[in-house]
Amino acid sequence: MEGIRLLLVDDEEEFRGTIAKRLTLRGISPEQAASGEECLSVLEKMPMDVVVLDVKMPGMSGIEALHHIKEKYPKTEVILLTGHATTLDGVEGIKAGAFDYLSKPIELDHLIGKIKHAYDKIRREEEKLKEAEFREKMEQQMIATERLASLGTLAAGVAHEINNPLAIIKESAGWMKLILKKDECAEIPRKQDFDMALNKIEKGVERAKRITLQLLGFARKDDSVLAELNLKELADEAIRLVTREAANKDIEIVQEMDIPGNTIWSDPYQLRQVLINLLTNAIHATGSGGNITIKLEVIGEEVALSVQDTGQGIPKENLERIFEPFFSTKSPGEGTGLGLFVTRGIVEKLGGKIEVESRLGHGTSFCIKLPKYLEVKEGLAGRDHTDILNKIIKMG
Protein backbone atom coordinates (compact mmCIF):
# COMPACT_ATOMS: atom_id res chain seq x y z
CA MET A 1 0.00 0.00 0.00
CA GLU A 2 2.91 2.26 -0.58
CA GLY A 3 1.89 5.74 -1.61
CA ILE A 4 -1.67 5.41 -0.43
CA ARG A 5 -3.27 8.70 0.50
CA LEU A 6 -5.33 8.26 3.62
CA LEU A 7 -7.39 10.72 5.62
CA LEU A 8 -8.47 9.96 9.16
CA VAL A 9 -11.50 11.92 10.40
CA ASP A 10 -12.61 11.78 14.02
CA ASP A 11 -13.60 14.41 16.55
CA GLU A 12 -12.01 12.54 19.43
CA GLU A 13 -8.49 13.80 19.30
CA GLU A 14 -6.95 11.17 21.51
CA PHE A 15 -8.49 8.27 19.63
CA ARG A 16 -7.52 9.80 16.30
CA GLY A 17 -3.98 10.45 17.42
CA THR A 18 -3.47 6.92 18.64
CA ILE A 19 -4.78 5.31 15.50
CA ALA A 20 -2.71 7.64 13.38
CA LYS A 21 0.43 6.80 15.28
CA ARG A 22 -0.19 3.08 15.05
CA LEU A 23 -0.97 3.28 11.36
CA THR A 24 2.23 5.22 10.81
CA LEU A 25 4.16 2.46 12.57
CA ARG A 26 2.64 0.07 10.03
CA GLY A 27 3.77 2.18 7.14
CA ILE A 28 0.68 4.28 6.38
CA SER A 29 0.89 7.87 7.50
CA PRO A 30 -2.56 9.45 7.35
CA GLU A 31 -3.62 13.04 7.18
CA GLN A 32 -6.01 14.01 9.94
CA ALA A 33 -9.18 16.03 10.31
CA ALA A 34 -11.30 16.69 13.41
CA SER A 35 -14.67 17.27 11.77
CA GLY A 36 -16.72 16.71 8.66
CA GLU A 37 -16.11 20.30 7.63
CA GLU A 38 -12.36 20.00 8.06
CA CYS A 39 -12.43 16.72 6.16
CA LEU A 40 -13.99 18.42 3.14
CA SER A 41 -11.57 21.32 3.21
CA VAL A 42 -8.60 18.91 3.36
CA LEU A 43 -9.99 17.01 0.38
CA GLU A 44 -10.25 20.21 -1.55
CA LYS A 45 -6.52 20.72 -1.25
CA MET A 46 -5.34 17.13 -1.34
CA PRO A 47 -7.04 14.35 -3.21
CA MET A 48 -7.30 11.16 -1.12
CA ASP A 49 -7.62 7.50 -1.96
CA VAL A 50 -9.31 6.41 1.24
CA VAL A 51 -11.09 8.34 4.00
CA VAL A 52 -11.67 6.69 7.36
CA LEU A 53 -14.62 8.61 8.69
CA ASP A 54 -16.24 8.71 12.11
CA VAL A 55 -20.00 8.84 11.85
CA LYS A 56 -20.84 10.54 15.10
CA MET A 57 -19.33 13.98 15.16
CA PRO A 58 -20.63 17.34 16.28
CA GLY A 59 -21.53 19.64 13.41
CA MET A 60 -21.54 17.87 10.10
CA SER A 61 -22.16 14.20 10.68
CA GLY A 62 -20.10 11.47 9.05
CA ILE A 63 -23.02 10.42 6.86
CA GLU A 64 -23.44 13.97 5.63
CA ALA A 65 -19.74 14.24 4.93
CA LEU A 66 -19.94 10.93 3.08
CA HIS A 67 -22.63 12.30 0.75
CA HIS A 68 -20.45 15.28 -0.08
CA ILE A 69 -17.38 13.14 -0.65
CA LYS A 70 -19.17 10.74 -2.96
CA GLU A 71 -20.64 13.57 -4.92
CA LYS A 72 -17.45 15.54 -5.35
CA TYR A 73 -14.80 12.81 -5.35
CA PRO A 74 -16.48 9.65 -6.62
CA LYS A 75 -13.15 7.84 -6.84
CA THR A 76 -12.36 8.27 -3.15
CA GLU A 77 -13.39 5.30 -1.00
CA VAL A 78 -14.83 5.84 2.48
CA ILE A 79 -14.69 3.53 5.47
CA LEU A 80 -17.10 4.51 8.22
CA LEU A 81 -16.47 4.14 11.93
CA THR A 82 -19.73 3.63 13.76
CA GLY A 83 -20.54 3.46 17.44
CA HIS A 84 -20.98 -0.02 18.82
CA ALA A 85 -24.75 0.08 19.00
CA THR A 86 -25.36 1.82 15.70
CA THR A 87 -24.83 -0.71 12.93
CA LEU A 88 -27.78 0.97 11.29
CA ASP A 89 -25.52 3.91 10.53
CA GLY A 90 -23.17 1.52 8.78
CA VAL A 91 -25.93 0.13 6.59
CA GLU A 92 -27.09 3.66 5.77
CA GLY A 93 -23.54 4.53 4.92
CA ILE A 94 -23.08 1.66 2.54
CA LYS A 95 -26.28 2.63 0.78
CA ALA A 96 -24.80 6.10 0.41
CA GLY A 97 -21.70 4.69 -1.20
CA ALA A 98 -19.31 3.89 1.64
CA PHE A 99 -16.90 1.08 0.92
CA ASP A 100 -17.47 -0.57 4.31
CA TYR A 101 -17.86 0.18 7.99
CA LEU A 102 -16.26 -0.80 11.28
CA SER A 103 -17.78 -0.61 14.72
CA LYS A 104 -15.86 1.01 17.48
CA PRO A 105 -13.84 -0.08 19.30
CA ILE A 106 -11.85 -1.11 16.32
CA GLU A 107 -9.05 -3.57 15.89
CA LEU A 108 -6.11 -2.15 14.00
CA ASP A 109 -5.53 -5.20 11.80
CA HIS A 110 -9.16 -5.10 10.89
CA LEU A 111 -8.92 -1.48 9.88
CA ILE A 112 -5.75 -2.02 7.88
CA GLY A 113 -7.40 -4.95 6.10
CA LYS A 114 -10.35 -2.83 5.07
CA ILE A 115 -8.12 0.04 3.96
CA LYS A 116 -6.19 -2.40 1.83
CA HIS A 117 -9.32 -3.73 0.20
CA ALA A 118 -10.57 -0.25 -0.55
CA TYR A 119 -7.24 0.69 -2.05
CA ASP A 120 -7.17 -2.45 -4.21
CA LYS A 121 -10.59 -1.59 -5.53
CA ILE A 122 -9.41 1.89 -6.49
CA ARG A 123 -6.44 0.50 -8.29
CA ARG A 124 -8.54 -2.04 -10.15
CA GLU A 125 -10.89 0.67 -11.32
CA GLU A 126 -8.07 2.90 -12.37
CA GLU A 127 -6.68 0.06 -14.41
CA LYS A 128 -10.06 -0.60 -15.97
CA LEU A 129 -10.43 3.04 -16.83
CA LYS A 130 -6.99 3.16 -18.38
CA GLU A 131 -7.76 0.11 -20.43
CA ALA A 132 -11.04 1.56 -21.62
CA GLU A 133 -9.31 4.79 -22.57
CA PHE A 134 -6.62 2.88 -24.38
CA ARG A 135 -9.18 0.81 -26.25
CA GLU A 136 -11.10 3.88 -27.26
CA LYS A 137 -7.95 5.55 -28.52
CA MET A 138 -7.07 2.46 -30.53
CA GLU A 139 -10.53 2.36 -32.02
CA GLN A 140 -10.32 5.97 -33.02
CA GLN A 141 -6.95 5.38 -34.59
CA MET A 142 -8.32 2.43 -36.49
CA ILE A 143 -11.22 4.44 -37.77
CA ALA A 144 -8.84 7.17 -38.86
CA THR A 145 -6.57 4.70 -40.61
CA GLU A 146 -9.43 2.97 -42.31
CA ARG A 147 -10.85 6.26 -43.40
CA LEU A 148 -7.47 7.21 -44.78
CA ALA A 149 -7.26 3.94 -46.66
CA SER A 150 -10.70 4.22 -48.20
CA LEU A 151 -10.13 7.88 -48.93
CA GLY A 152 -6.96 6.87 -50.74
CA THR A 153 -8.78 4.30 -52.82
CA LEU A 154 -11.55 6.74 -53.60
CA ALA A 155 -9.11 9.49 -54.46
CA ALA A 156 -7.18 7.22 -56.80
CA GLY A 157 -10.39 6.17 -58.53
CA VAL A 158 -11.52 9.74 -58.97
CA ALA A 159 -8.12 10.83 -60.20
CA HIS A 160 -8.02 8.07 -62.80
CA GLU A 161 -11.46 8.93 -64.07
CA ILE A 162 -10.64 12.62 -64.27
CA ASN A 163 -7.45 12.01 -66.21
CA ASN A 164 -9.37 10.77 -69.23
CA PRO A 165 -11.55 13.84 -69.76
CA LEU A 166 -8.48 15.95 -68.95
CA ALA A 167 -6.65 14.28 -71.80
CA ILE A 168 -9.54 15.10 -74.13
CA ILE A 169 -9.57 18.76 -73.10
CA LYS A 170 -5.84 18.93 -73.48
CA GLU A 171 -5.78 17.46 -76.98
CA SER A 172 -8.69 19.64 -78.09
CA ALA A 173 -7.00 22.81 -76.93
CA GLY A 174 -3.68 21.73 -78.41
CA TRP A 175 -5.32 21.02 -81.72
CA MET A 176 -7.05 24.40 -81.82
CA LYS A 177 -3.76 26.11 -81.14
CA LEU A 178 -2.20 24.27 -84.04
CA ILE A 179 -5.00 25.40 -86.34
CA LEU A 180 -4.68 28.99 -85.24
CA LYS A 181 -1.02 28.94 -86.22
CA LYS A 182 -1.88 27.97 -89.83
CA ASP A 183 -1.53 30.56 -92.57
CA GLU A 184 -5.21 30.26 -93.40
CA CYS A 185 -6.00 31.55 -89.91
CA ALA A 186 -3.55 34.44 -89.97
CA GLU A 187 -6.29 36.94 -90.62
CA ILE A 188 -9.10 35.82 -88.35
CA PRO A 189 -10.48 38.58 -86.14
CA ARG A 190 -9.62 38.61 -82.41
CA LYS A 191 -7.08 35.86 -82.88
CA GLN A 192 -5.20 36.88 -79.71
CA ASP A 193 -8.32 36.40 -77.67
CA PHE A 194 -8.55 32.81 -78.84
CA ASP A 195 -4.87 32.26 -78.14
CA MET A 196 -5.19 33.74 -74.71
CA ALA A 197 -8.21 31.61 -73.82
CA LEU A 198 -6.58 28.46 -75.14
CA ASN A 199 -3.53 29.11 -73.02
CA LYS A 200 -5.78 29.48 -70.01
CA ILE A 201 -7.41 26.15 -70.80
CA GLU A 202 -4.02 24.49 -71.04
CA LYS A 203 -2.88 26.03 -67.79
CA GLY A 204 -6.07 24.87 -66.12
CA VAL A 205 -5.48 21.35 -67.36
CA GLU A 206 -1.94 21.42 -66.01
CA ARG A 207 -3.25 22.43 -62.63
CA ALA A 208 -5.87 19.70 -62.55
CA LYS A 209 -3.20 17.25 -63.66
CA ARG A 210 -1.00 18.25 -60.74
CA ILE A 211 -3.84 17.48 -58.38
CA THR A 212 -4.63 14.09 -59.84
CA LEU A 213 -0.94 13.18 -59.84
CA GLN A 214 -0.61 14.06 -56.18
CA LEU A 215 -3.69 12.09 -55.31
CA LEU A 216 -2.45 9.09 -57.22
CA GLY A 217 0.99 9.54 -55.73
CA PHE A 218 -0.57 9.02 -52.36
CA ALA A 219 -2.59 6.01 -53.34
CA ARG A 220 -0.17 4.37 -55.66
CA LYS A 221 -0.02 0.71 -55.10
CA ASP A 222 2.68 -0.90 -56.97
CA ASP A 223 5.90 0.98 -56.84
CA SER A 224 6.68 1.03 -53.20
CA VAL A 225 10.28 -0.08 -52.88
CA LEU A 226 12.16 -0.86 -49.74
CA ALA A 227 15.89 -0.33 -49.68
CA GLU A 228 18.74 0.66 -47.45
CA LEU A 229 19.06 4.37 -47.89
CA ASN A 230 21.34 7.08 -46.71
CA LEU A 231 19.30 9.95 -45.33
CA LYS A 232 22.05 12.46 -45.98
CA GLU A 233 22.06 11.55 -49.66
CA LEU A 234 18.30 11.60 -49.74
CA ALA A 235 18.30 15.09 -48.24
CA ASP A 236 20.94 16.22 -50.75
CA GLU A 237 18.73 15.02 -53.57
CA ALA A 238 15.60 16.66 -52.23
CA ILE A 239 17.44 19.93 -51.60
CA ARG A 240 18.85 19.91 -55.10
CA LEU A 241 15.32 19.77 -56.47
CA VAL A 242 14.19 22.87 -54.57
CA THR A 243 17.42 24.78 -54.55
CA ARG A 244 16.47 27.18 -57.33
CA GLU A 245 13.22 28.11 -55.66
CA ALA A 246 15.13 28.75 -52.44
CA ALA A 247 17.83 30.76 -54.17
CA ASN A 248 15.19 32.97 -55.80
CA LYS A 249 14.07 34.03 -52.34
CA ASP A 250 17.59 34.18 -50.97
CA ILE A 251 16.84 31.42 -48.49
CA GLU A 252 19.68 29.37 -47.14
CA ILE A 253 19.15 25.66 -46.55
CA VAL A 254 21.34 24.33 -43.77
CA GLN A 255 22.00 20.62 -43.32
CA GLU A 256 22.74 18.94 -40.05
CA MET A 257 22.74 15.41 -41.29
CA ASP A 258 26.30 14.27 -40.87
CA ILE A 259 25.92 11.88 -38.00
CA PRO A 260 26.75 8.23 -37.68
CA GLY A 261 23.92 5.86 -38.31
CA ASN A 262 22.17 7.95 -40.91
CA THR A 263 21.11 5.00 -43.00
CA ILE A 264 17.72 3.41 -42.62
CA TRP A 265 15.68 0.74 -44.32
CA SER A 266 12.65 2.32 -45.96
CA ASP A 267 11.16 3.58 -49.21
CA PRO A 268 13.51 6.12 -50.82
CA TYR A 269 11.13 7.50 -53.44
CA GLN A 270 8.32 8.14 -51.07
CA LEU A 271 10.61 9.64 -48.46
CA ARG A 272 12.11 11.92 -51.04
CA GLN A 273 8.59 13.06 -51.86
CA VAL A 274 8.03 13.76 -48.18
CA LEU A 275 11.16 15.90 -47.95
CA ILE A 276 10.31 17.79 -51.10
CA ASN A 277 6.83 18.54 -49.78
CA LEU A 278 8.16 19.79 -46.45
CA LEU A 279 10.94 21.83 -48.03
CA THR A 280 8.59 23.40 -50.56
CA ASN A 281 6.18 24.39 -47.83
CA ALA A 282 9.04 25.83 -45.78
CA ILE A 283 10.24 27.87 -48.75
CA HIS A 284 6.74 29.18 -49.38
CA ALA A 285 6.39 30.23 -45.76
CA THR A 286 9.80 31.84 -45.35
CA GLY A 287 10.56 35.38 -46.34
CA SER A 288 13.69 36.32 -48.25
CA GLY A 289 16.88 36.06 -46.26
CA GLY A 290 15.44 33.43 -43.96
CA ASN A 291 16.80 29.98 -43.52
CA ILE A 292 15.70 26.40 -43.39
CA THR A 293 17.40 23.71 -41.37
CA ILE A 294 17.08 20.06 -42.13
CA LYS A 295 18.32 18.01 -39.25
CA LEU A 296 18.74 14.36 -38.37
CA GLU A 297 18.84 12.69 -34.98
CA VAL A 298 19.07 9.04 -34.07
CA ILE A 299 17.06 8.00 -31.05
CA GLY A 300 17.38 4.31 -30.31
CA GLU A 301 15.67 2.35 -33.02
CA GLU A 302 14.19 5.47 -34.54
CA VAL A 303 15.40 8.39 -36.57
CA ALA A 304 13.96 11.86 -36.26
CA LEU A 305 14.18 14.05 -39.31
CA SER A 306 13.10 17.63 -38.94
CA VAL A 307 12.61 20.49 -41.35
CA GLN A 308 12.65 23.80 -39.58
CA ASP A 309 12.04 27.21 -41.05
CA THR A 310 12.17 30.81 -39.89
CA GLY A 311 8.95 31.61 -41.73
CA GLN A 312 5.60 33.06 -40.87
CA GLY A 313 4.44 30.20 -38.66
CA ILE A 314 1.03 28.59 -38.52
CA PRO A 315 -1.84 30.12 -36.56
CA LYS A 316 -3.23 27.87 -33.83
CA GLU A 317 -6.61 27.48 -35.48
CA ASN A 318 -4.93 26.10 -38.61
CA LEU A 319 -2.61 23.67 -36.84
CA GLU A 320 -5.39 21.13 -36.56
CA ARG A 321 -6.32 21.42 -40.18
CA ILE A 322 -3.10 21.50 -42.18
CA PHE A 323 -3.10 17.73 -42.65
CA GLU A 324 -6.61 17.69 -44.08
CA PRO A 325 -6.84 17.06 -47.80
CA PHE A 326 -7.37 20.27 -49.78
CA PHE A 327 -6.71 22.55 -46.82
CA SER A 328 -4.53 25.34 -48.13
CA THR A 329 -3.95 28.98 -47.34
CA LYS A 330 -2.27 29.53 -50.69
CA SER A 331 -3.81 30.91 -53.86
CA PRO A 332 -5.44 28.20 -56.00
CA GLY A 333 -2.66 28.36 -58.58
CA GLU A 334 0.01 27.82 -55.97
CA GLY A 335 -1.29 25.30 -53.46
CA THR A 336 -3.28 22.11 -53.80
CA GLY A 337 -3.63 21.46 -50.07
CA LEU A 338 -2.57 17.90 -50.68
CA GLY A 339 1.11 18.15 -49.77
CA LEU A 340 0.82 17.51 -46.06
CA PHE A 341 -2.05 15.08 -46.46
CA VAL A 342 0.06 12.96 -48.78
CA THR A 343 3.10 13.45 -46.58
CA ARG A 344 1.36 12.17 -43.50
CA GLY A 345 -0.10 9.28 -45.47
CA ILE A 346 3.35 8.23 -46.60
CA VAL A 347 4.98 8.64 -43.21
CA GLU A 348 2.31 6.56 -41.51
CA LYS A 349 2.49 3.98 -44.24
CA LEU A 350 6.19 3.70 -43.50
CA GLY A 351 5.46 3.07 -39.84
CA GLY A 352 6.37 6.54 -38.64
CA LYS A 353 4.69 9.67 -37.43
CA ILE A 354 4.83 13.35 -38.15
CA GLU A 355 4.62 16.19 -35.67
CA VAL A 356 4.49 19.91 -36.07
CA GLU A 357 5.46 22.79 -33.84
CA SER A 358 4.97 26.36 -34.81
CA ARG A 359 5.26 29.87 -33.43
CA LEU A 360 3.45 32.57 -35.27
CA GLY A 361 5.92 35.01 -36.74
CA HIS A 362 8.91 32.91 -35.73
CA GLY A 363 8.81 29.71 -37.71
CA THR A 364 7.68 26.17 -38.01
CA SER A 365 9.25 22.80 -37.49
CA PHE A 366 7.98 19.54 -38.92
CA CYS A 367 9.47 16.44 -37.40
CA ILE A 368 9.18 12.95 -38.86
CA LYS A 369 10.01 9.95 -36.73
CA LEU A 370 10.68 6.76 -38.61
CA PRO A 371 11.71 3.28 -37.59
CA LYS A 372 15.25 2.41 -38.69
CA TYR A 373 14.01 -0.85 -40.05
CA LEU A 374 10.67 -0.99 -41.72
CA GLU A 375 9.83 -4.63 -41.34
CA VAL A 376 7.56 -6.06 -43.91
CA LYS A 377 7.06 -9.65 -43.00
CA GLU A 378 4.82 -10.43 -45.92
CA GLY A 379 7.82 -9.99 -48.16
CA LEU A 380 7.01 -8.81 -51.64
CA ALA A 381 3.30 -8.89 -51.04
CA GLY A 382 3.88 -6.33 -48.34
CA ARG A 383 4.78 -3.79 -50.94
CA ASP A 384 1.13 -3.28 -51.62
CA HIS A 385 0.19 -0.29 -49.57
CA THR A 386 -3.11 -1.71 -48.42
CA ASP A 387 -1.14 -4.48 -46.80
CA ILE A 388 0.98 -2.01 -44.94
CA LEU A 389 -2.12 -0.13 -43.93
CA ASN A 390 -3.66 -3.33 -42.72
CA LYS A 391 -0.58 -3.96 -40.69
CA ILE A 392 -0.83 -0.53 -39.16
CA ILE A 393 -4.45 -1.26 -38.32
CA LYS A 394 -3.50 -4.49 -36.68
CA MET A 395 -0.71 -2.88 -34.71
CA GLY A 396 -3.25 -0.28 -33.70
Binding site: A159, N163, A167, I168, E171, L178, I179, V205, R220, D222
Partner: protein
Amino acid sequence: MIKIPTRVLLVDDEKDFVEMLSLRLEEVGERVTPAHSGQECLEILEKDNIDVVVLDIKMPGMDGIETLREIKRRFPIVEVIMLTGHGTTETAVEGMKLGAFDYLMKPADFDDLAVKMEGARKRKDEQEERIRKAEATFLLRKSGNI
Protein backbone atom coordinates in the same frame (compact mmCIF):
# COMPACT_ATOMS: atom_id res chain seq x y z
CA MET B 1 11.72 19.34 -96.51
CA ILE B 2 8.66 17.17 -96.74
CA LYS B 3 7.94 15.11 -93.68
CA ILE B 4 7.26 11.47 -94.27
CA PRO B 5 4.19 10.78 -92.20
CA THR B 6 4.34 8.13 -89.53
CA ARG B 7 1.45 5.71 -89.83
CA VAL B 8 -0.01 5.73 -86.37
CA LEU B 9 -2.67 3.43 -85.02
CA LEU B 10 -4.28 5.09 -82.02
CA VAL B 11 -6.12 2.71 -79.69
CA ASP B 12 -8.23 3.90 -76.78
CA ASP B 13 -11.75 3.19 -75.64
CA GLU B 14 -12.20 6.94 -75.07
CA LYS B 15 -13.66 7.93 -78.44
CA ASP B 16 -13.35 11.69 -77.94
CA PHE B 17 -9.75 11.32 -76.93
CA VAL B 18 -8.97 9.26 -80.02
CA GLU B 19 -10.75 11.77 -82.21
CA MET B 20 -8.99 14.84 -80.82
CA LEU B 21 -5.51 13.37 -80.63
CA SER B 22 -5.95 12.03 -84.18
CA LEU B 23 -6.86 15.49 -85.43
CA ARG B 24 -3.88 16.98 -83.67
CA LEU B 25 -1.45 14.37 -84.98
CA GLU B 26 -2.83 14.71 -88.50
CA GLU B 27 -2.43 18.45 -88.19
CA VAL B 28 1.32 18.00 -87.67
CA GLY B 29 1.49 15.66 -90.62
CA GLU B 30 1.10 12.13 -89.29
CA ARG B 31 -1.35 9.63 -90.70
CA VAL B 32 -3.64 8.27 -88.03
CA THR B 33 -5.98 5.29 -87.97
CA PRO B 34 -8.30 5.23 -84.98
CA ALA B 35 -9.36 2.13 -83.06
CA HIS B 36 -11.43 1.75 -79.92
CA SER B 37 -10.59 -1.71 -78.69
CA GLY B 38 -7.81 -4.26 -78.68
CA GLN B 39 -9.79 -6.40 -81.07
CA GLU B 40 -10.23 -3.60 -83.56
CA CYS B 41 -6.55 -2.75 -83.26
CA LEU B 42 -5.53 -6.27 -84.28
CA GLU B 43 -7.98 -6.32 -87.17
CA ILE B 44 -6.52 -3.11 -88.54
CA LEU B 45 -2.97 -4.38 -88.17
CA GLU B 46 -4.04 -7.40 -90.27
CA LYS B 47 -4.87 -5.27 -93.27
CA ASP B 48 -3.05 -1.94 -92.92
CA ASN B 49 0.56 -0.94 -92.82
CA ILE B 50 1.26 0.63 -89.44
CA ASP B 51 4.52 2.00 -88.03
CA VAL B 52 3.55 2.82 -84.46
CA VAL B 53 0.66 1.79 -82.25
CA VAL B 54 -0.25 4.19 -79.44
CA LEU B 55 -2.06 1.92 -77.04
CA ASP B 56 -4.15 2.67 -73.99
CA ILE B 57 -3.52 0.16 -71.20
CA LYS B 58 -6.88 0.43 -69.51
CA MET B 59 -9.62 -0.73 -71.82
CA PRO B 60 -12.65 -2.86 -71.22
CA GLY B 61 -12.59 -6.30 -72.81
CA MET B 62 -9.14 -7.12 -74.14
CA ASP B 63 -6.88 -4.77 -72.21
CA GLY B 64 -3.74 -3.05 -73.37
CA ILE B 65 -1.27 -5.62 -72.06
CA GLU B 66 -3.11 -8.48 -73.71
CA THR B 67 -3.33 -6.52 -76.95
CA LEU B 68 0.37 -5.73 -76.74
CA ARG B 69 1.23 -9.39 -76.29
CA GLU B 70 -0.83 -10.27 -79.36
CA ILE B 71 0.72 -7.46 -81.41
CA LYS B 72 4.23 -8.57 -80.55
CA ARG B 73 3.40 -12.16 -81.36
CA ARG B 74 1.77 -11.49 -84.71
CA PHE B 75 3.35 -8.26 -85.86
CA PRO B 76 6.74 -8.10 -84.11
CA ILE B 77 8.05 -5.32 -86.28
CA VAL B 78 5.36 -2.83 -85.29
CA GLU B 79 6.40 -0.52 -82.43
CA VAL B 80 4.09 0.15 -79.51
CA ILE B 81 3.90 3.15 -77.18
CA MET B 82 1.71 2.60 -74.14
CA LEU B 83 -0.53 5.12 -72.47
CA THR B 84 -0.71 4.32 -68.78
CA GLY B 85 -2.30 5.80 -65.73
CA HIS B 86 -0.07 7.17 -63.02
CA GLY B 87 0.76 4.70 -60.29
CA THR B 88 0.76 1.80 -62.67
CA THR B 89 4.46 1.80 -63.32
CA GLU B 90 4.49 -1.91 -62.76
CA THR B 91 2.15 -2.36 -65.71
CA ALA B 92 4.38 -0.09 -67.72
CA VAL B 93 7.41 -2.18 -66.78
CA GLU B 94 5.54 -5.33 -67.76
CA GLY B 95 4.73 -3.72 -71.08
CA MET B 96 8.38 -2.84 -71.64
CA LYS B 97 9.34 -6.42 -70.95
CA LEU B 98 6.81 -7.55 -73.51
CA GLY B 99 8.57 -5.40 -76.07
CA ALA B 100 6.85 -2.02 -76.00
CA PHE B 101 9.03 0.82 -77.21
CA ASP B 102 8.12 3.20 -74.40
CA TYR B 103 5.25 4.46 -72.29
CA LEU B 104 3.57 7.75 -71.44
CA MET B 105 1.46 8.83 -68.55
CA LYS B 106 -2.01 10.10 -69.33
CA PRO B 107 -2.71 12.96 -69.85
CA ALA B 108 0.45 12.92 -71.88
CA ASP B 109 2.48 15.86 -73.04
CA PHE B 110 2.17 16.23 -76.81
CA ASP B 111 5.84 17.01 -77.31
CA ASP B 112 6.82 13.93 -75.31
CA LEU B 113 4.56 11.85 -77.49
CA ALA B 114 6.06 13.37 -80.64
CA VAL B 115 9.60 12.57 -79.47
CA LYS B 116 8.74 9.01 -78.54
CA MET B 117 6.86 8.42 -81.75
CA GLU B 118 9.85 9.64 -83.70
CA GLY B 119 12.09 7.22 -81.80
CA ALA B 120 9.71 4.32 -82.34
CA ARG B 121 9.44 5.06 -86.01
CA LYS B 122 13.22 5.20 -86.33
CA ARG B 123 13.65 1.88 -84.57
CA LYS B 124 11.09 0.28 -86.84
CA ASP B 125 12.79 1.64 -89.95
CA GLU B 126 16.13 0.28 -88.78
CA GLN B 127 14.63 -3.10 -88.03
CA GLU B 128 13.10 -3.22 -91.49
CA GLU B 129 16.36 -2.19 -93.07
CA ARG B 130 18.18 -4.96 -91.23
CA ILE B 131 15.62 -7.52 -92.30
CA ARG B 132 15.83 -6.37 -95.87
CA LYS B 133 19.61 -6.74 -95.84
CA ALA B 134 19.42 -10.14 -94.21
CA GLU B 135 16.95 -11.27 -96.80
CA ALA B 136 19.12 -9.96 -99.57
CA THR B 137 22.17 -11.82 -98.28
CA PHE B 138 20.07 -14.88 -97.88
CA LEU B 139 18.78 -14.64 -101.44
CA LEU B 140 22.25 -13.92 -102.76
CA ARG B 141 23.69 -16.89 -100.98
CA LYS B 142 20.84 -19.03 -102.16
CA SER B 143 21.24 -18.05 -105.78
CA GLY B 144 25.05 -18.40 -105.45
CA ASN B 145 24.60 -21.89 -104.21
CA ILE B 146 22.47 -23.00 -107.08
